[in-house]
């Protein structure tokens, strides 16, 4: 049976290893898609709708084409079709400089008939609102209803009830590197695209299909990339446009989205509104849960949030409705549906606990069936000092008040089939590991090096890892669902093991020992029954002469496992005069099975916490009902956490078993509820709407006083 071995036997796996690409990234040597420049390259830009709803009557590109330096102009929408949100693509240009491309966009005349629009959910749901989707009744989808147990009976058993409405606004991904591509055709049949993508092979296959090319004649390269969070699984309109402009002009074209484009069209996390009524028994069992809710993800679906979440409730009914508005569409965003759902559920849990006169931690213990989280609760309470918690929310007379709260989450991970990899040992001792996955920033490059280095008794820096390129023809899936490491690691491990076996077979005669007796040391290979029989790695590989050993691997069920739990505790300080919230500390405890690299796993937890904190305290898309426009499609008014917002984060990798699972998404889930509950604990007044900005805090405090 394949296994990752015992922790005590691991030299590298599970230890802290510095990211292989770290130095290149901080020195600027690492080249992102944005940094790729090709000989004679042109610059592409996309003309986008400035209105939220209109029918296109005509597009006149003559003036743009006549502008010196403009090489191509292509339409991206057919005449007669509808534009349904600000930012929707109309045409694209390629020009000698980015400035010329930008000027050219302004010369394109679009004749359109503007249509009535709705950009806020309340407007969309109002009586008599203009209907913006022909296939729905009004602007709401049919409800999605789920039922379990008997709600009536549940409420009869309940000793306390809470009825409340929770809301989170639309959040955008804010990838630091915007979406974009550099496309270059070698000839009419061969296309190379540098893409800022989280799916190298998915992007390759999409482009091949779009241009009707054999898949192996499209090459996609993603050496380094600056964030995707679920929004970069394919080339999208802009990728097709870049490749088409390159095809027409016969020249490489770079087309990167602007920051404004990124906010408008590159995806978002839908909003959530939940009206909940829930009950618990006098001994603290969550017994009944009734929820009606809605959310918008633009003109597509939106109400994908989780409800109920994490905690066990035997009797529930949920009803969710998607609301359509004239705004850019949602895309998967780090743990889709979970952070919003967790926020509402964790607030509700605290509200019920308070009605029961119970410590919220105890109330969770009663209703949580996960043994892992039970252990995490104990550890988290210790780490944050839960006993110091304000036992009377809002008590005390000081201006700055402190409070603590907690939240929980779960996720799947566990990986899947579909990755091919190859590990090669060369006669000069060098080692290569190649696969078609991509390093989304999670550190898979380093994880691969660790696995191979562990197997061969080498250092991670001895391994040349090649990822982010479709050319070697070793496919791997997109980086989504926290699946990358669990999908790739088993294949790399088995490939390395096979290569090692081959090497042992070659050198066994030299060491005059049977293959089964050979082991790797540190840079050496020795005979286990007679340790005086040792040769160095270089001596061993020297035996290969002009040959190399190159082995593929297989996915192995035994090396991975799905399902993780997480819990976070927050301590905050609220300035009751300014309404400002300072998060002092977050204790984030997450299991991910076997953490191949403890350092990047901790980084992943830190990053998730920061993202969750942004959603809790700052982030919100503002849509103006008068103009139909997003008013904060920038990084001045769309506020993301900066250095001043980052608290002390204690990231704890909670070891459970030694099979690979995944950690990409889960750490951004529990943060929202933990912070919101801590704020309540500090000030004694509940704010059920995110983000927790000073206006909401001050209004809540004023209401409490009144």
């Amino acid at each position: 049976m394949a296994s990752w071995g015992e922790a005590s036997e691991s030299r590298l796996i599970g230890k802290r290893v510095t990211r292989l690409s770290g130095k290149d990234k901080v020195t600027g040597k690492a080249k992102y898609t944005f940094d790729i420049n090709r000989p004679g390259m042109l610059y592409g830009r996309v003309l986008r709708s400035e209105v939220p709803h209109a029918t296109v009557k005509g597009i006149d590109t003559r003036a743009a084409e006549a502008l010196p330096g403009v090489k191509a102009v292509i339409p991206l929408i057919e005449i007669g079709k509808k534009l349904r949100y600000q930012g929707q693509e109309i045409a694209a240009v390629a020009a000698e400089t980015d400035d010329i491309a930008k000027d050219a966009l302004r010369l394109i005349q679009v004749d359109m008939e503007e249509l009535p629009f709705v950009v806020t959910e309340s407007d969309a749901m109002a009586e008599g609102a203009p209907q913006i989707r022909e296939d729905w009744n009004g602007n709401q989808s049919n409800p999605n209803i789920r039922e379990e147990g008997t709600l009536e009976a549940g409420f009869k058993e309940a000793a306390v009830e809470v009825e409340a409405t929770y809301h989170t606004p639309v959040q955008t991904h804010v990838c630091l590197e915007t979406h974009g591509h550099v496309a270059e055709w070698q000839d009419e049949q061969n296309l190379t695209v540098w893409a800022s993508t989280q799916a190298v092979f998915g992007t390759r296959n999409d482009l091949a299909q779009h241009f009707e090319l054999p898949a192996n004649q499209v090459r996609v390269i993603t050496e380094h990339m600056g964030g995707g969070f679920g929004s970069k699984f394919g080339p999208g309109m802009e990728g097709h446009a870049a490749a088409e402009l390159s095809r027409i002009t016969g020249t490489a074209v770079k087309l990167m989205l602007t920051r404004k484009d990124e906010h408008l069209v590159a995806g978002n996390r839908p909003s959530m509104t939940q009206h909940v009524r829930a009950g618990a028994t006098s001994d603290g069992r969550l017994i009944a849960y009734d929820m009606r809710g809605h959310g918008t993800g633009g003109i597509s679906s939106g109400a994908g949030f989780q409800a109920p979440y994490v905690y066990h409730v035997p009797n529930f009914r949920t009803e969710k409705v998607n609301v359509a508005v004239n705004a850019g569409n949602q895309r998967a965003m780090r743990a889709p549906g979970h952070p919003q759902g967790a926020f509402a559920m964790d607030c509700l849990m605290d509200e019920l606990a308070e009605k029961l006169g119970m410590n919220p931690l105890e109330f969770r213990r009663i209703n949580d069936t996960s043994e892992v989280r039970q252990a995490q609760y104990t550890l988290g309470a210790q780490e944050i000092g839960w006993h110091r918690r304000n036992s009377m929310p809002g008590s005390g007379t000081s201006v700055k008040k402190r409070g603590m709260g907690l939240g929980s989450g779960r996720w799947g991970g566990g990986g899947g089939r579909g990755t091919e990899a190859r590990v090669t040992i060369n006669a000069d001792g060098t080692v290569e590991a190649v696969t078609g996955t991509q390093d989304l920033g999670t550190g898979i490059r380093t994880a691969i090096a660790i696995i191979v280095a562990e197997e061969f008794g080498l250092a991670p820096t001895d391994i040349t890892v090649k990822v982010g390129d479709s050319a070697p023809g070793l496919p791997s899936g997109g980086s989504g669902g926290s699946q990358t490491t669990a999908s790739v690691a088993p294949v790399i491990k088995t490939a390395a093991a096979a290569a090692k076996q081959k090497l042992f077979e070659r050198i066994a005669p030299l060491l005059a020992a049977p293959v089964e007796e050979l082991r790797v040391g540190t840079g050496t290979i020795y005979v286990v029954s007679d340790r005086t029989k040792t040769i160095t790695w270089a001596q061993a590989t020297g035996q290969l002469g002009m040959e190399s050993i190159s082995e593929g691997g297989q996915w192995d069920e035994e090396l991975r496992q799905g399902g993780v739990a997480g819990t976070q505790f927050a301590e905050v300080e609220v300035d009751t005069e300014t309404g400002t919230i300072k998060v002092l500390k977050i204790v984030a405890i997450h299991d991910c099975g076997l953490a191949i690299n403890r350092l990047t796993t901790e980084s992943q937890i830190n990053g998730g916490v920061i993202m969750g904190l942004g959603q809790a305290l700052l982030e919100e898309r503002f849509m103006d009902a008068q103009t139909g426009r997003m008013m904060n499609a920038n990084l001045e008014d769309y506020k993301v956490p900066g250095t001043f917002e980052i608290p002390e984060i204690k990231s704890i990798v909670f070891d459970t078993h030694r099979k690979v699972t995944g950690i990409g998404e889960p750490p951004c889930i529990p943060t929202l509820g933990a912070i919101a509950n801590a704020v309540y604990n500090a000030i004694g007044v509940r704010i059920r709407e995110l983000p927790l900005t000073p206006d909401k805090v001050l209004s809540a405090l004023a209401e409490k006083k009144a």
């Binding site: 008013m631 900066g642 206006d695």
Partner: protein, 327 residues
Amino acid sequence: MEKFSYVNATNLEQVTSLLNDSGWGEVMVIAGGTDLLGELKEYVETPKTLVNLKTLPGMDSIAADATGLKIGALTTVADIAMHPTIQRHYTVLAQAAASVATPQIRNVGTLGGNLCQRPRCWYYRDETVDCLKKGGEICYAVEGLNKYHAILGGDPVYIVHPSDIAPALIALGATIKIAGPEGEKTMAVEEFFTLPATNPFRENVLEPNEIVVEVQVPQPKPNTKSLYLKAREKGAPDFALASVAGVFEMSGSTCNTASIVLGGVAPAPWRSKEAEAALTGKMISEAVSKQAGADAVKDAQPLNDNEYKVVLTQNLISRAAMMAAHA
């Protein structure tokens, strides 16, 4: 941005003559460019000519003596924030400057640019929205998204003045020197800024052919305490939701005179005579400071989403007074 020609300024006469007769927007001056470039990139402004003031000699330094300060308009915000004399004797000014934006922007942005910067209102900064300030029919903030807008002195335009430095200068009784075709003139910084009722299109008295050349700040009396408090949603960079520049001349915990100027709540830096009156001649107690805060906002007219600014402003004023008296 649109194409423009670029002229390096050599002397004030040349600048005012280049600006002459062209009205607003055709010829514009640029200093650090941290504000103007944003407007150019968004096509909010499309000048034909930019006059670079940074090449004007002798306008980028701070002179301090016993009578006060002379700060050239091209002095960077960072130089003001880090000047030892300003930190010591003009604390409110150093603190206000230090609260501006980020280190990068403070290293480049100038005093003149800070005082003459244009509104941050998101309707104003959106090229496609033709609002009242830009010559259109309505102020979109009135019925729209107005969380960051004015609670005082609004009508008919509800921007807030974005400068952190201006309230501090007014609280210190500073004067401003302006150069125009007829030569130079000096006026109180307080008189420099105007409300939309006077002129909805501009935020100060400058004519299209005038520029700011210097600011003079009288040395505060001994026993003066001064401070700047700024509330914001985010540590940096972020503009003020509300701010208070307070200059207090004290005898022990009794306030002889107080200057209270608010930022982030009105279309111009807002001197609160009411708060000053409530503090002057009083022993600063919690009750007195609270009264000053309440008096300052009694005429506030919040819009849909900015009522919180009323209590926020009130709290900042009383906190400032308490800190001056007791910290």
